[in-house]
């Protein structure tokens, strides 16, 4: 391989280093782990760059973030089972349960959360849609690609995540 080819690869992926780090940081909730995940993800990206399809709306950023996301989830399984936060459970996190016990999901311990802490407390599947949308401005389609779920699921997860953040925000402002 010519060294300028590596430079071309770097030109595609390095501009998204901050975005990659931000996503990894919110998924791992830890600086050091986020750095490890990002480094690992970039090596995977180098390996899988042949699978990158840029046409029909695929952007380099969404492609890279999907790898970062998957790396973080693999890393969670490999290192600490609970590292990304509460394991996702459709039952536990379904609206029905949350509606019956709003106080449990919103104000655990009767302490008002700050917005950042509320975000950290969301299950990773909800946290990531907020980060991808609110902090990184991805479209629903791109989020669907990154998270590997249908657009409808992106839409409902985002809405449910926001509801919880909004409740935390209100609780925050009352104190």
């Amino acid at each position: 391989m010519e060294s300028n080819e590596l430079e071309r690869f770097e030109a595609i992926v390095l501009p998204h280093l901050d975005a990659a780090y931000t996503l990894a940081r919110y998924l791992t909730r830890n600086d050091h782990d986020a750095e490890d995940v990002v480094q690992d993800a970039y090596l995977r990206a180098l390996k899988y760059v042949g699978g990158f399809r840029g046409e029909e709306g695929g952007s380099a950023r969404a492609w890279l973030l999907a790898i970062v996301r998957n790396t973080a989830y693999t890393w969670r399984r490999r290192h600490r089972t609970d590292a990304l936060g509460t394991p996702f459970d459709e039952e536990l996190h379904s609206d029905a349960i949350a509606d019956e016990h709003p106080e449990a999901s919103l104000l655990n311990g009767a302490v008002a959360e700050s917005l950042g802490r509320a975000l950290d407390r969301l299950p990773p599947e909800f946290r990531e849609v907020v980060v991808l949308r609110e902090l990184q401005g991805l479209s629903y389609n791109e989020i669907s690609d990154v998270a590997g779920v249908p657009v409808g699921t992106v839409m409902s997860r985002l809405s449910r995540a926001r509801r919880r953040l909004q409740d935390a925000l209100c609780a925050d402002e009352e104190h």
């Binding site: 391989m1 080819e5 780090y21 042949g50 609110e134 389609n141 409902s156 909004q166």
Partner: protein, 272 residues
């Protein structure tokens, strides 16, 4: 619709992700329902709070160095025996060329042609129009309402058609600013999708053939008639967007002059 569904719809609306027809319905409802308007205000406050209080992170310089070092030591250059590298790098060459489309910072460097700047303006106009409240200045499916609305706002009277019979209903119009001049923006719908048509008077003569670009997942078509420069932009599939452009071109040549106000020729809706 349940309240939960409605929340998700409103969120999608505020994200500029709601389908055209649902958007109109929702906007009508919001204007009449204080409870829903209050819900919207709450979400806007949340968005502002996230922006103000939830940080994005800058990758530490040390990480940048680590990543680059890792890439260099892992790159196939250090391993000449590795098989399959040429295919990988052919794909990479493709990726690199596509990255020109994907990476904003490259666009700046590569904006040599005016066309590129124009395409950027057109795309920006489209994306901005998808934000809440930016879609139309004159929301109407009636071409006889939309066309006269431009009187006195532009130095030309744009041709406005309604292709509802062909599956592309008129949604409205607005003023926009593209390529250093005020232009007419006409919004058409197609199922869940919106199409923005931007047009302004052609500087001079020759009819230009249609050109196609894809940026950030949006398709952009441009063409010129003797009277007007046209750009159509949408997240709609390219085949359908071309079909729509063809309808516009037909309607224009049938009208035969600028400022025509004609109903599109009747016919079966294009297959989708």
């Amino acid at each position: 619709m349940s309240h939960r569904d409605f929340e998700a719809q409103l969120d999608a609306y505020l994200d500029g992700e709601l389908a055209a027809l649902d958007t109109r319905e929702l906007e009508t409802h919001l204007a009449q329902c204080p409870a829903c308007a209050q819900f919207r205000d709450g979400r806007l406050a949340l968005r502002a709070a996230i922006k103000a209080r939830v940080p994005t992170f800058q990758a530490p310089d040390a990480l940048r160095g680590r990543v680059q070092a890792a890439l260099r030591s892992a790159s196939p250059a250090r391993d000449p025996g590795r098989i399959g590298a040429p295919a990988v790098w052919r794909a990479l060459a493709l990726a690199a060329s596509l990255a020109v489309v994907a990476l904003g910072s490259w666009q700046l460097a590569l904006r040599r042609a005016t066309g590129e700047t124009l395409a950027d303006d057109v795309l920006t106009s489209h994306i901005r129009s998808l934000m809440p409240g930016h879609l139309t200045d004159v929301p109407s499916s009636d071409q006889h309402t939309v066309k006269p609305w431009f009187n006195g706002k532009l130095d030309f009277s744009p041709p406005v058609y309604d292709f509802a019979g062909r599956g592309y209903p008129l949604i409205g119009g607005r003023l926009d600013y593209v390529g250093g001049r005020s232009v007419a923006a006409l919004v058409y719908g197609r199922r869940q999708h919106l199409i923005n048509v931007l047009l302004w008077p052609a500087a001079r003569g020759p009819t230009a053939a249609s050109e196609t670009q894809t940026r950030q997942g949006y398709h952009l078509l441009s063409w010129a008639t003797p009277e007007y420069v046209y750009w159509a932009v949408s997240d709609l599939g390219l085949a359908e967007l071309r079909d729509f452009a063809h309808l516009l071109q037909q309607a224009d040549s049938a009208a035969g002059r600028s400022g025509a106000l004609k109903t599109a020729p009747a016919g079966p809706p294009p297959s989708s």
